[in-house]
């Protein structure tokens, strides 16, 4: 067994963890974390693919590495936007809760 294969299998296991997190999370923060764990697993599988593709003097195929860098930044953007939405929503709910005397109409 090679190192690349080992990390590929670990990536598969991490994807499983992420799916578990998404399915069992009780709140949005849990889902955001689950999404990030899942994403980390996907990227790691891509890393294993890159490592297997070592050739032409490169110790790993550079194309998947570049794609993962792009992917990490996109995942960060998604996390940040989701967190901003969540924080705004919960402050609004916290502010509305005491005043809300039972009015349900939106």
């Amino acid at each position: 067994m090679t190192g690349a294969l080992l990390f590929g299998l670990a990536g598969a296991a991490l994807v499983g963890c992420g799916v578990y997190g998404l399915l069992t999370a009780s709140g949005a923060l849990g889902r955001i974390l689950g999404f990030n764990v899942l994403g980390g697993g996907v990227f790691l599988i891509f890393g294993a693919v890159a490592r297997r593709g070592a050739a032409a003097g490169f110790s790993a195929d550079p194309v998947p590495q570049a794609l993962v860098i792009t992917g990490i930044v996109v995942a960060f953007c998604a996390t940040a936007l989701a967190v901003a939405l969540l924080v705004r929503l919960s402050t609004m709910e916290a502010r509305a809760a005491p005043a809300d005397a039972g009015e349900k109409e939106t």
Binding site: G3, L6, F7, L9, A10, G11, A12, L14, V15, G16, C17, G18, V19, Y20, G21, L23, T24, G27, L29, G30, I32, L33, G34, V37, G40, G41, F43, L44, I45, G47, A48, V49, A50, R51, R52, G53, A55, A56, F58, S59, A60, D61, V63, Q65, I69, T70, I72, V73, V74, C77, T79, A80, L81, V83, A84, L85, L86, V87, R88, S90
Partner: protein, 310 residues
């Protein structure tokens, strides 16, 4: 020996991931996630992908960690979640294990020898005068993806700012913590920030030929900016500030301008002028780094407060 190290690392990664998803409470889960990100960074080093490792540690673990911790602090204590159905967890675990097993089979079934683009990159890289193949892919061969991903970063800030109650988004973001900075953190900011800025600039400079580049450098610079803000060393600029907005646009639109210039100089969109490739690529990287640094820091700081209250 190294295989044993890798195996231990994988095991720790798995434990970290389980720590994130199986912990009930928010703060321990986020802290586990930061650790998970650092371990992932280590895994990337072991996979000989140092560029990715730097990005993962700086952005995937570092800045994401700051955002998530801020979220934990800002969220009120969650109401007691209604007890989930007793079958939910076993069922979810079964699904997760099935998916992981299927993926593991798919990984094992990947063809041998592995298909790769390494040879193509190696053949095309000398013309760009770059030493780092990953930078070559990001800024030359697949420049379109990178350019548009800058737009994604810009849009996520637009999305965060859209949550401000001031429609014009001109005010300053609220401080990360309401109290004035304690002395140690002011001291830390004064000492660490100059070193960090140097590290960031080095990563930018090295990125052309060695691991490093715009993302990693931008993330480090953003972190230093945040450190200075948290240590009360600098004041957060107002979102309506014209030069701030210019800095945010410099990366994506500087890149786009170079892309259009490629029509004149190289006869193709996003082509680089023959003979001056490296200089132009580095200029693009500088512009991107500045925009990434500013945008990342502003995303962490959150939506601008109302005009009147800032």
């Amino acid at each position: 020996m190294s295989l044993l190290f890798d195996a231990v690392l994988c095991l720790l990664l798995l434990l970290g991931a389980l720590g994130v998803v199986a912990t009930g409470a928010a703060r321990p889960a986020v802290i586990a996630f930061i650790g998970y990100g650092l371990l992932l960074g280590l895994a990337w080093v072991r996979l000989d992908a140092v560029d990715v490792a730097l990005t993962e540690i700086a952005i995937g673990s570092g800045i994401s960690g700051v955002v998530l911790l801020h979220c934990v602090r800002a969220l009120p204590a969650p109401p007691r979640a209604p007890a989930a159905h007793p079958m939910l967890r076993p069922l979810a675990a079964a699904i997760a294990v099935a998916i992981a097993a299927a993926l593991a089979l798919a990984v094992l079934a990947l063809p041998e020898p592995a298909p790769t683009r390494a040879a193509d990159v190696a053949a095309a890289l000398p013309a760009t005068d770059l030493g780092n193949p990953v930078t070559g892919v990001l800024l030359v061969f697949r420049a379109l993806d990178t350019l548009l991903e800058k737009v994604v970063l810009f849009l996520s800030l637009v999305g965060v700012w859209a949550l401000s109650r001031d429609p014009a988004c001109r005010g300053r973001p609220a401080p990360l913590s309401p109290e004035p900075a304690p002395a140690p953190s002011a001291f830390l900011a004064r000492v660490l920030a100059p070193i960090g800025v140097l590290v960031g600039l080095y990563l930018l400079w090295a990125g052309a030929d060695h691991p490093g580049g715009a993302f990693q450098s931008g993330a480090v610079l953003a972190a230093m900016g945040l450190l200075l803000v948290m240590g009360d060393q600098i004041r957060v600029p107002a979102a309506g500030n014209r030069s701030l907005r210019l800095l945010m646009l410099a990366g994506p639109f500087g890149f786009l301008a170079v892309g259009f210039a490629g029509w004149a100089t190289a006869g193709v969109f996003l082509g680089y002028p023959p003979g001056a490739e490296k200089a132009v690529i580095i200029a693009v990287e500088v512009a991107i780094t500045l925009s990434i640094a500013v945008t990342l820091a502003l995303i962490v700081l959150g939506p601008p407060a109302d005009e009147g209250r800032s």
